[in-house]
């Protein structure tokens, strides 16, 4: 009767310490479980979708994250005020902050995630490397902790070789990272990375790792419960990225077969076991051209791209997280080696792919969301919502599912074509072009593909004259209609001036 074991906890109300699409996603899981939800919001998010969706909402401060979504005491206070007994951190913000997990525990709140000690062990990348090594997990060749610059340089020359990466121990988001091509660049790169890491994380310690050229980024979804079970839910292929930000993810990976999945999955479970991992987590790996794989890091939280795993396993990962946090056994009992079909996710970002992916802000003036077979949209926006510059630029995730990779890709292309977002620039044209690229279709890509070998011009045929003419006719008809409407806009009797004067005023107003 494990359901009555002493670690069982009841969860009556969940506060979501996040915003945007992931807050909405978690509220949906709460609804499915019949658990009331509490949203928190900054001044910039009073009108946000997660506030509209939640049962209760608490204002926590000004727009800047460090004054609202990163303020531990305000979030704990919001939970106390609303009677929430559990907190889901989502991803980003406080999700991988061990102090926050500890503060929840101290307050008697259930933190829906791993233990503070697991977060700490995996949060420091060099500690993580040393921890998993003891469990026979292969890590990318690199330097040991506590080495000084001279030792690092000597080891880089004698054993690691060039090119290599300088990385920050406390790293994240590409900060404190440097690619080094030869011995001469190394001392400066170490100094610069150290300075950047010191200012970004307050920890300037750096280490060196071999740079795997042409590597792929493949990660494993892990679930662990308090009864000692740890399984994996298969892999996600995340090599389509730009400046270390993932853009497209899929599950399974076109590079893995069953045998490789079994071996990598075993390694991922060992890595999670090294910190007695409980709840959902992700083991990120690099795989070289010869299919050798190495542990890169563990993300001790729900991942942005979790939906692709949900679609090919049928498991609702957020519901499992809550179940695990309650002290129950997780519902799947075995690792998933045979995914059902194929799923692809495109991150819809407010970024202009024709202009160096520069972020775009503004009000969404038209929004038509794709639906139909095999399509899922996890969105944090609605028609009329204003995108502000305070938070990251991801506004939604479009996920397509099919029997095979080609069916998933075709459904994705159809859904992207149906997706209409007007009022700001976004990267849907990038995704449409990517889906036309032979390399992507053939599964031939690595983590440098988008930056080194992809261009918006390659797969975009210029519009034909017939297309341009159709567009010109449409624009003209609309302009004509607007003029006619303006002329009729006010009843003649209600006006004190002639129609001609009125139209001219209307036109001046529109300028």
């Amino acid at each position: 009767m494990s359901d009555h074991s002493p670690q069982q906890k009841n969860i009556q109300k969940i506060l979501i310490a996040n915003r945007g699409e992931i807050a909405v996603r978690i509220i949906r899981a709460c609804r499915d479980l019949g658990i009331p939800s509490v949203a928190v919001f900054s001044d910039a998010d009073r009108t946000a979708l997660h506030v509209r969706f939640a049962d209760q909402a608490v204002h926590i401060g000004p727009p800047a994250p460090r004054e609202s979504y990163l303020r531990i005491e305000k979030i704990i206070e919001a939970a106390r005020k609303t009677g929430a007994d559990a907190i889901h951190p989502g991803y980003g913000f406080l999700a991988e902050n061990a102090d926050f997990a500890q503060a929840c525990a101290d307050e008697g709140l259930t933190f829906i995630g791993p233990s503070p000690s697991a977060i700490t062990a995996m949060g420091n990348k060099q500690t993580a490397r040393e921890t998993v090594k003891k469990y026979n997990v292969a890590v990318v060749p690199g330097t040991e902790p506590g080495m000084n610059d001279d030792d690092i340089i000597a080891l880089a020359e004698s054993q690691i070789g060039f090119p290599l990466m300088v990385k920050a121990e406390a790293g994240g988001g590409g900060k404190g990272m440097r690619t080094v091509h030869n011995r001469e660049e190394l001392p400066t790169a170490l100094a610069n990375a150290r300075r950047e890491a010191e200012s970004a994380f307050g920890n300037g310690r750096v280490y060196v790792e071999k740079l795997l050229v042409g590597a792929r980024h493949i990660e494993f979804q892990i679930l662990g419960d308090m009864h000692g079970n740890i399984i994996h839910l298969g892999e996600r292929e995340c090599s389509i990225q730009r400046r270390h930000q993932k853009l497209v993810e899929e599950s399974p990976s076109p590079f893995l077969d069953m045998e490789l999945r079994r071996r990598m999955g075993e390694m991922a479970i060992n890595a999670a076991r090294s910190v007695n991992y409980v709840n959902a987590g992700t083991i990120e790996c690099l795989m070289d051209k010869d299919k050798n794989f190495y542990f890169l890091e563990m993300n001790t939280r729900l991942q942005v791209e979790h939906p692709v795993t949900e679609l090919v396993t049928g498991i609702d990962i957020v519901k499992e997280q809550i179940r695990i946090a309650r002290g129950r056994r997780m519902s799947p009992t075995e690792s998933i080696l045979e995914p059902k079909g194929w799923a692809i996710e495109c991150r819809i970002n407010a970024e202009d792919p024709y202009n160096n992916f520069i972020p775009s802000v503004g009000k969404i003036t038209t929004l038509l969301t794709p639906v139909g077979p095999g399509v899922r949209v996890d969105s944090g926006v609605y028609n009329g919502f204003e995108i502000t510059p305070y938070y990251d630029s991801m506004i939604a995730k479009l996920i397509a599912h099919g029997e095979s990779r080609s069916e998933a890709m075709l459904r994705m292309r159809r859904a992207l074509g149906e997706y209409v977002i007007m009022g700001l620039k976004h990267n849907i044209p990038f995704h449409l072009n990517l889906l036309n690229s032979f390399s992507f279709i053939a599964g031939q890509f690595d983590t440098n593909f988008v930056e080194d070998r992809f261009s918006m011009d390659t797969y975009e045929a210029p519009p034909t004259d017939a297309e341009l003419e159709a567009v010109a006719i449409a624009a003209t008809l609309v302009a004509h209609r607007n003029q006619q409407l303006a002329a009729q806009g006010v009843q003649a009797s209600a006006r004190d001036v002639s129609n001609w004067k009125w139209i001219s005023r209307y036109e001046r107003m529109q300028r």
């Binding site: 630029s393 992207l416 074509g417 044209p429 159709a470 567009v471 010109a472 449409a474 609309v478």
Partner: protein, 164 residues
């Protein structure tokens, strides 16, 4: 009514007659046009059905068809005449103002006043939405004036650099 409509730099002479018929460069077109809401339209041309989103912004039109965004202008005869009298406004030379595409923080200004720059060269780095964004020169030119400073927070559409 006659219009000069320019889409992606291609010009069309389009006439909409009082009976609602549409003529492009003097040839008649079979067009069934229906407004579905403020920006969504259904257009059937020669039995081809198009879902079209059209929005007017700052005097220009944005048109979205099948996932592709087009930009253009629609001028009636009167505005066309006025524009031609004013002479070629948008020549490739002359001063260009580089405005902030979004509010943000000026992180770095790797150019200085009087410096010659190439098209695509980075003029400023603007931090916004957790990212450092390189603002690049739209064409070759000389940096005429830098009106912001490193460390300064700027509002959207603020002029940051002018090029001549």
């Amino acid at each position: 009514m006659k219009y000069i409509t320019t889409i992606n730099d291609k010009k069309f002479e389009i006439e909409i007659r009082n009976d609602g018929s549409v003529w492009v460069n003097g040839e008649s077109r079979d067009v069934d046009f229906l407004a579905l809401n403020n920006s969504l339209y259904s257009i059937i041309m020669e039995n081809r059905s198009h879902e079209v989103v059209v929005e007017e912004r700052d005097g220009a039109y944005e048109v979205l068809v099948s996932g592709r965004l087009y930009n253009g202008t629609v001028l009636d005869e009167r505005s066309q005449l006025m524009r031609s009298r004013r002479g070629g406004l948008e020549a490739d030379s002359g001063e260009i103002s580089i405005k902030a595409p979004m509010p943000g923080l000026i992180v770095a200004i790797p150019v200085s006043e009087g410096q010659e720059v190439k098209s695509g060269q980075t003029l400023l780095i603007l931090e916004s939405m957790k990212m450092q964004n390189e603002i690049k020169a739209p064409r070759d030119g000389t940096v005429h004036r830098i009106s912001v400073q490193q460390g300064e927070t700027v509002e959207q559409k603020r002029v940051m650099v002018t090029l001549i």
